[in-house]
Symmetry: D2
Subunit: 245 residues, 4 copies
């Protein structure tokens, strides 16, 4: 995907210095690296929005784990980021992948969106499972990120079958459950990246990239004003009382 | 750094949906997440270039390790990215941090750049050490990325004391060693991010973010056309002959 | 679980220096750390056997990933071990956990082992799934590790319902499929640790501990006779030809 | 190092089932995996003691990071262990490696232990550095683990030049600084494993193996009585007040 020779570096078929550096944005580079071609303007705008949406979530368990890791291994920031990513598993990133797969399979089945949506909601309801990409503990009236992400997709005209399907699923779920289970940011992003032609298998990758930025941001804050060490010492002390063996 | 309420999400003091999504690029978000304020246009351009420069390096050892990790743990992409980042240690990312520290300390000493450069080169020469950020095994006549990165910094007027110092070090090293030891991309990026006001301690973080994108790109290629499993099986076989116990 | 004071260290209720160091083996310590009490002699013998069985598997993908990680981050062995563990996911360690859960649920159902075994085999057969803990690509006539592990459990009298159930499942599968699908080492270990009273949720943990030893062993070999760097360089070169952009 | 055929598995030249399973302890397997031969009884006793000494340290930052990782990625225990190991860096495991290197270099220099010790203490004192392996914040009168570990080594007769040197360094430091800087467990283990013929480069590996057991132990406790999620939620809340943007 990239090759260096004496006086040039080629990346995905482009000359890095004359064609990419200073010419494309970082978001466009993300697209190029994943797709092997530069994005069109509308694709670029959607990818930027998706990535921006997932960077920062406050003091997530993963950010806290990364800060604690940095306490023990300050010699290499990358290991603390790695530790943080290890915790970006099914509980935090599972829904985006599960949504993407559900939407992919639904679209691939070729049926009418409303029919497909009914089958999907029926299926999850039958096994009393949560529909991935729907519902939010805090944003119960609708996830504000979803509204804005779909607005952007509509503006640039990138929304297609996957967005249509997730909207149909939201409507069907509202009917069947009698209350709004709003499309959350995971569901919205899943639909958007699938509509851009990405495989459902890489949907989680966008969240991983964005969270990596968040982890570096939290570690920079930790470097500038350390909080993890006193926090850890406090918890260590509490734990000792609980378990005085 | 980020807080969600019923109908809004705030990130670093901004309303995510009305002020950031669809408004800023991913590169600007990286800056915001690290600095707590939005970048000016010239800062944004430099950060984009630095990040774009470090995304793709071909089949690095870290990319290979990530692909092999994915063979055993395809259920969670993030763990393969984490494994790849674990290998982005001193051999691959040490120079950017060491450069940034050297340039920071040199600038902080307050001396004339040429004097400071002389002392730095003297010191490394005396301990027969390599000057971090100088020299490249392939780009012996000058790293094309450096030329372009400095061109961009000059265009937007972001180059300051750290760029001046690394250039002085390159000149001094050429005099003392009698041959060009060109500023490489690590040295260039270190100077650029320090000139933007980032601490030397986070210089490595930019490379970590960029490489995370590269890792996701390699894993997406691995998902679409798997190469790590046959490669591993081949090596396993070779190793068995070498070690027939 | 452990506390240090001025002149003693207590671990899980024991004085580390007077009661554990020089008194118990490392295998006994593993048991103590997980269970909060010392093992009886027969428990200790089974745990040692389980752990010994999973240490070394040749040039596994995880060992290769760890060696490649060490190439880039030789400053901290632990990160290379961490990278290796990241790949010890569902493909390599999923079966031990899935077996343990299957056996736990089967025993917990309280039915007759042969009945339960029939239901289990029926279920997997209906969904055309592989029964976890059964079958081996190389050891088609029976996994020699299983024979030996069960022999040890029988000698010390530690085999109980979970071993009985996995044997019943093997018999039932042979009947239904008309050929031997031998209990493999994953299935054997799952049964043994469940019979010792461990939760199915920690079964994978024994493999993690054993593989950690294997990873350190491979890294020590790598330190003494480096093979990962030339291997990586070779693959990098091959990949460049394949992808000459 | 290991090979499987149809009816046997060979590990490091031994037949796994007939020669190792049920025959050797886990500690002996650790030795075999690292050294390629079985330990003698006295070596086995020392290795067991070293490993037992490093398993449990209470609610270490690494254990806490692993528990937080498990909150987000309960589907694969190994990733939480990996995250924990990422934090076992220079702050926690640096001293054992630095001690081992210092002792190795000192012994390799071939001088009289007291002379070598003087030079070492002089050197560290001159650069106002801490002597690795000496001193302990809690065990100021002597680390009880060291006393016991050296007692075991003396009993079995495994203590040689590295133990002699670290004792000479402790004595010299006491003279130069006018107070006891006791050999701590890191210094003791470094000396013991070097005396057994292990390279200083793998000294840290013993701590990695032992801590891996500790991590699995903490995760098992976390599985049985979850504490990380409420703890994280509490910290998230606190952090929100501190940073109300």
């Amino acid at each position: 995907m990239g090759v260096a020779s004496r006086d040039s570096v080629r990346v995905r078929g482009f000359d890095l210095t004359s064609q990419l550096l200073g010419t494309i944005t970082f978001g466009e580079m993300v697209f190029l690296e994943l797709r092997g071609r530069l994005p069109r303007a509308e694709e670029s705008r959607v990818i930027d929005a998706v990535l921006v949406a997932f960077v920062e979530h406050g003091m997530m368990a993963t950010n806290l784990a990364a800060r604690l890791t940095y306490v023990g291994a300050p010699e290499g920031l990358q290991a603390a980021v790695a530790a943080g990513l290890c915790g970006a598993g099914d509980v935090f990133l599972g829904a985006i992948e599960a949504s993407a797969k559900m939407l992919h399979d639904g679209v691939a089945s070729g049926g009418d969106p409303r029919e497909v949506a009914r089958e999907i909601v029926d299926t999850y309801r039958a096994r009393k499972g949560r529909i991935p990409g729907l519902g939010h503990p805090v944003h119960s009236d609708g996830d504000p990120r979803t509204r804005r992400l779909f607005e952007i997709a509509d503006e640039v005209g990138s929304a297609r079958e996957h967005v249509a399907l997730v909207r149909a699923i939201e409507a069907e779920a509202a009917t069947q459950f009698g209350r709004l289970l709003p499309i959350n940011a995971d569901g919205a992003c899943a639909a958007l990246v699938c509509d851009l032609g990405f495989s459902w298998q890489i949907a989680r990758g966008f969240a991983v990239i964005a969270r990596c930025v968040g982890l570096v941001g939290h570690l920079y804050e930790e470097i500038q004003s350390p909080t993890a060490r006193p926090l850890w010492r406090h918890i260590e002390e509490l734990y000792r009382y609980k378990d005085p063996t």
